[in-house]
Structure formats: structure tokens, C-alpha cells
């Protein structure tokens, strides 16, 4: 449980592959983080805000009709009930408190689906900090409502027109902004990605998901689940949900990637189909061509539409601790419809990928206990649902 190593590596994955300009800021961030992590007043401020502002702990809900339908005991970790409707705020809240500690005056972030952008804009409003969000032009179109939300919260949203005009390009642009303004700006990265110490920090702020889920599961079932399931884009809800279970060898960790139009067509399944390489500051599994040019990922879900995945998940997959499934756009949409009608819960498209594995044969045995992370709610995806369902 002590990973990463001194240089930020999880096995062969991770590190800090960034220009020299960013190294002082990354060092400062790490030193500050290691210090405040132990500081009782920081811990108290964070846990108070998580309780009073975010609404934690989020419930672990027994989904009885889904359980009956599939023949498993299915528990849902309701991150969709958090303030702003997704798990993203666990991280943004922690990071803005860090930024305050470091005396930074401005916040930047990248966003794909817009959930991380909204969560960042939200905590910036809460703390009265200026906030600039980078978002791919295509995502801006797909997630118009979230763009409006961010603006209403007082953030500026910058449209990124390079490359695939999605999360990958927004991340590149945010890093470039940070390079220019590193002395007074903190970059709140949205997933367990990027150069060390980000993957560790984001994981630690998201760890609360699995910590609560474990405790709640023990209270409800008196035992640990057979399987823990989460969807994987960059991997922040997944590593947050999985982390407390990594050392529990009897618990299967199952991550679900986006197979998009199919694994032989356009997809975003970097753990299933990628190779190790460096993107956005760390060595991860990436979708790339033979030369090392990054490929354009595809998923109907903007939040999974990223050609890489965080280093810790890349590592867990490489040592076979993490099992990975890939789910197509179609399967995710159909799962969304099932869960909505069965449980009265409309999941985000990202989360729908996690639900979709429940219908896959041979992954689970009758009566298995499953804990599934409902990373976000589907309000932002209504347009897509309306078009496709």
C-alpha cells in the first residue's frame, strides 16, 4: 500500500516526464502534500467539507431489483449523490485546500465530460479563487450544459481546437498554461494521471470511496465483496474504489473500459489494447501507433474518451491484480436503460459501462456479492440518451 517509489513509479509505470520548468512546482506540490497530509487541521477541514458540503459518506445502496434480475447481490456506491453529481469533487476539494496551503492564486483544470470542470469551478467558487478550464471543442458541444454550469459558477471555459478536440488536447493545453504560469497557478488535474505526485494525490483524495465502501459492506454483509467494479477512463473513480481492496486477495478488482464502436474499430480501451508510453507526464498504457504518436480515442462517453490510463492501474493490470473488461457504446447505452428502469437511478454514460458488465456471462457466479461504483449521475448525458435510446 506504500506505492509509488521515490520517483513516482508504480512498477515500470508513472514517473515525472515533464520539462524542467515544471519540476520545481511538482516538488513543491509533493513536499506540501506530504506535510499537510499529516496535519490534523488540514485533515479536519477536508473531512468537514466532505461531510457538510459534499454530503459524505455516500450511501452503499443494495440494488434489490438489479440483484434479482442478475442473480447476484449488487451494492451500489453512490458517488452520483455527491454534490455536483460525481466522484470528481472528492479530489477537487482536497486539491484546492492544497493550493491554498501553497499560496497559489489561480486554478486551472482540464475537463472531458465536464464533470471535473464543474467540480473544480465549484470548489473555486467556494474558496473565491479564479478558475480557468480547458475543454476540447468537441466536448464543449457534447456537454453544453456542463459548460454553462461552469460559467454560472464563475469559471472561464477555454475551447481547445487542436488534435482530437477532446480531453487529451484539453490536458495538453492545461499543462502548457501551467508551464507559463507555474509560479502562481495550481493545476488541479482531474484523474489519477499526469506526472508524479499527481497520480498519488488524486488517488489519496479518491480513496475515501473504497474506504467507506469497505466499511459499509462489512456492516451490511459482515464480509467483503467478491467483486469490486468501476469504470475506467483516466481511472480516478476506479483507483479510489479499488485502493482499499488491493491487499484483499479474495476480492476481484474489475475495471471496465470503453470499447467504443468495438475493439477492432474506434475505442478508448488503453489497458486492453494499449502499450506503455509517455503522455502528459507519465509512463502509462497508451493507445499509440508504432512510431509513438498518440491515437485518437473514441467513446460515446466524453469522460472515458482518453487514450491513456493512470500509472497505478497500468501497474495493477501488469501484475494481474486488476481484471479488465471493455464495453461498447451500445452495451453501455443499453445498461443505462436497464438500470434507470430497474432502480430509478440514471447513471452517467461512464458509469453505465461498469453496469454493462453485469450482463456478461462467466464473470460472476450466482450469489456473488458485488460492489459497483456509481461514479456519476446521467443528467449531463440526457441529450445523448435521447438521441440513442
Amino acid at each position: 500500500m506504500t506505492k509509488p517509489d521515490r520517483n513516482g513509479f508504480f512498477g515500470e509505470f508513472g514517473g515525472s516526464f515533464v520539462p524542467d520548468t515544471l519540476m520545481p512546482a511538482l516538488h513543491e506540490l509533493e513536499v506540501c502534500y506530504q506535510k499537510v497530509k499529516q496535519d490534523p487541521s488540514f485533515k479536519m477541514e477536508l473531512s468537514e467539507l466532505l461531510a457538510e458540503y459534499v454530503g459524505r459518506p455516500s450511501p452503499l445502496f443494495y440494488a434489490s431489483r438489479l440483484s434479482e434480475k442478475y442473480g447476484y447481490s449488487i451494492y451500489l456506491k453512490r458517488e452520483d449523490l455527491n454534490h455536483t453529481g460525481a466522484h470528481k469533487i472528492n479530489n477537487t476539494l482536497g486539491q484546492i485546500l492544497l493550493a491554498k496551503q501553497m499560496g497559489k492564486k489561480r486554478i486551472i483544470a482540464e475537463t472531458g465530460a465536464g464533470q471535473h470542470g464543474v467540480a473544480t469551478a465549484t470548489v473555486c467558487a467556494l474558496m473565491g479563487m479564479p478558475c480557468d478550464i480547458y475543454m476540447g471543442a468537441e466536448d464543449i458541444q457534447r456537454q453544453a450544459l456542463n459548460v454553462y454550469r461552469m460559467k454560472l459558477l464563475g469559471a472561464q471555459v477555454f475551447s481547445v481546437n487542436s488534435g482530437s478536440k477532446t480531453l487529451k488536447d484539453a490536458t495538453t493545453e492545461a499543462i502548457r498554461d501551467w508551464m507559463k504560469n507555474v509560479e502562481h497557478t495550481h493545476y488541479i488535474i482531474g484523474s489519477a494521471l499526469g506526472p508524479h505526485p499527481y497520480p498519488m494525490i488524486v488517488r489519496d483524495f479518491q480513496r475515501v470511496i473504497g474506504k467507506e465502501a469497505k466499511k459499509q459492506m462489512l456492516e451490511k454483509e459482515g464480509r467483503l465483496p467478491h467483486h469490486v467494479i468501476a469504470c475506467i477512463g483516466g481511472g480516478s473513480n476506479a483507483i479510489g474504489m479499488f485502493y482499499e481492496f488491493i491487499d484483499e486477495k479474495d476480492v476481484t478488482l474489475l475495471g471496465v473500459e470503453a470499447a467504443g464502436e468495438g475493439l477492432n474499430k474506434k475505442h478508448a480501451a488503453s489497458l486492453t489494447k494499449g502499450r506503455p508510453g509517455v503522455l502528459h507526464g507519465s509512463l502509462n498504457n497508451l493507445l499509440q501507433n508504432n512510431d509513438g504518436q498518440i491515437e485518437i480515442a473514441h467513446s460515446i462517453s466524453a469522460g472515458l474518451d482518453y487514450p491513456g490510463v493512470g500509472p497505478e492501474l497500468s501497474y495493477l493490470k501488469s501484475i494481474d491484480r486488476l481484471k479488465v473488461q471493455a464495453v461498447t457504446d451500445k452495451e453501455a447505452l443499453s445498461a443505462c436503460s436497464i438500470v434507470s428502469k430497474c432502480e430509478g437511478i440514471i447513471p452517467a454514460l461512464e458509469t453505465a459501462h461498469a453496469f454493462a458488465v453485469l450482463s456478461k456471462k462467466n464473470l460472476f457466479k450466482k450469489g456473488d456479492i458485488i460492489a459497483l461504483c456509481v461514479s456519476g449521475r446521467g443528467d449531463k448525458d440526457m441529450e445523448t440518451f435521447r438521441e440513442h435510446l
Binding site: N7, G15, S16, F17, V18, P19, D20, T21, L22, M23, P24, S162, G163, K168, D169, T172, I175, R176, M179, K180, N181, V182, E183, R275, P276, G277, V278, L279, H280, G281, L283, L286, Q288, N290, D291, G292, Q293, I294
Partner: protein, 264 residues
């Protein structure tokens, strides 16, 4: 100073060096060769071949756009192609040092050891890996030394003295001092402590220091020449190339730019 890169050290021994950056394959590999020749013939002392990358984090909009143009031509713009280009340039200008500037992922995917070996075989003098911090560089330094390729590290004005020492010690050929924080591209202001940083560098090791990022005016070059060993020009040349469609006109314009920059 480096023993295996006599060409690089010879340049700096004689005079202040002007280092010019061009992107491989923007607008075509053939024209990269032509423009490289034009630069060398008109006073550029060292050529930096920039490898187009889909997600360049250290580069400004001008070079990013140049990379995207190169990648969208469907021509091969891989390291293999860069090595071919260097072979050709070296045939014509055997004494002009040529270095490759690339995102580290391209080197990793080519296979690090083979990459430096093949680079050496074609006459390439060094590599600049802008997204490889000194903390990550140990293996790359080892492999580059084995192949007798200079690893030219970037150093920013924000660098602490302990890291500076590490970077200088790991560097061969010359050091690339970033003029100010941020990404590549034209700008008005440079960091004020550059000459002080150069003194700190030279106190560690006698290695030439070239300053880059945002150099576009004769004043910049004059200023930098007063305290550094060389100036690196990138975005400024790329803009000239992007502006002119016709080959001859571009060559003329590049010639004029170099002459203007060197007017002191």
C-alpha cells in the same frame, strides 16, 4: 567538454553559435532538407530537427501547429525518416552539428538503445528530450553515452542549485537554457537572472550554454550573445516557413531572417 562531439565543441570554440530549429516534414521532408541547407548556408551553426508529436507539452502554438501540419501530410515523419534526412544533410555539411529534439515517447517506442545507435550511425550529434526531467534521465544518459550521442538537457530559470548541478553534470555538447518559464514561442521578456544562471552552470562544468524560447529579434540575439554561448531560434523560423508557400520565396525569407537576426 565532450570528447566524442568534437563538432559541437569546435563550433562553440570559434564563435557564438546560432542554432536553428525546423520541424521534420513541415511542409514536406524534402523541403525540410532544402530549408536546412538554406539555414546552414546563411549562418546557422547547429541544426535542430524537431520531431512532430501529436501532443507536445513544451511547445507553443506555432510549433504545435507545425507538428500538426507535418503529421497530417501522411508522409513518414518518424525517427527513421529523421535519420535519413540527417545522413543527407551531413553528406553536404559534414561539420555542421545536427541534433534531434523529440518527445521522449518517440524514442521509447523506437527502443532507446537502438535509437541512439542508429542516430550515431547517421551522423546525428545529439538529442534534446524536453519532456525528460533530470530525475527520469538516468537510463537515457547511460544509453546516450554508450552510443556517444550528446544528451542536451533543458534547464529553466526556476531550477534550484542542487538540480542545476545534476543537470549540468549529465549534459554533453551544450546546455539549453530556457529564456523564461513557459512554452516555446515569441515573447518580449526574458527572465532577468539568465547571466547569473550561466555563471552557476560554468562553475559546475565548462560546457557551452545556448539560450532558447522566444528569440525572434536581432536585439534578443545581441543580448544573449553578450552573456551566453549561443542562441536558439525556433518558432520564428517556423513562422517564416508557414507564411510562404513557394519554396524559393521561403528560402529567400529564411535567408533574410537569419541575416537580420545576426545583424549586430
Amino acid at each position: 567538454m565532450s570528447i566524442y562531439n568534437q563538432d559541437i565543441s569546435n563550433i562553440f570554440k570559434k564563435k557564438k553559435a546560432l542554432i536553428g530549429y525546423i520541424t521534420l516534414g513541415d511542409p514536406s521532408v524534402e523541403l525540410t532538407y532544402e530549408y536546412g541547407c538554406t539555414l546552414i548556408e546563411n549562418g546557422v551553426d547547429i541544426i535542430e530537427i524537431g520531431m512532430p508529436f501529436s501532443d507536445p507539452i513544451a511547445d507553443g502554438p506555432v510549433i504545435q501547429a507545425s507538428h500538426q501540419r507535418a503529421l497530417s501530410t501522411n508522409e513518414d515523419v518518424s525517427l527513421r525518416q529523421a535519420f535519413k534526412l540527417i545522413t543527407k544533410l551531413k553528406k553536404r555539411f559534414p561539420k555542421t552539428p545536427i541534433v534531434i529534439m523529440t518527445a521522449i515517447n518517440l524514442v521509447i517506442q523506437y527502443s532507446v538503445e537502438k535509437c541512439f545507435k542508429d542516430a550515431k550511425a547517421c551522423g546525428c550529434d545529439g538529442f534534446i528530450l524536453p519532456d525528460c526531467s533530470i530525475e527520469m534521465a538516468t537510463d537515457y544518459t547511460k544509453q546516450a553515452r554508450k552510443a556517444q550521442i550528446s544528451l542536451i538537457h533543458l534547464i529553466s530559470p526556476l531550477c534550484s542549485s542542487s538540480r542545476l548541478k545534476k543537470i549540468v553534470n549529465a549534459s554533453e555538447g551544450f546546455l539549453y537554457l530556457i529564456s523564461s518559464t513557459g512554452i516555446t514561442g515569441e515573447r518580449d521578456a526574458f527572465a532577468t537572472n539568465l547571466s547569473h544562471i550561466i555563471k552557476s552552470i560554468k562553475a559546475v562544468k565548462d560546457i557551452p550554454v545556448a539560450v532558447g524560447f522566444g528569440i525572434s529579434k536581432p536585439d534578443h540575439v545581441r543580448d544573449i550573445y553578450s552573456f551566453a554561448d549561443g542562441a536558439i531560434v525556433g518558432s520564428h523560423l517556423i513562422q517564416v516557413i508557414a507564411k510562404h508557400k513557394d519554396k524559393n520565396k521561403t528560402c529567400e525569407a529564411l535567408k533574410k531572417s537569419i541575416k537580420t537576426l545576426l545583424k549586430t
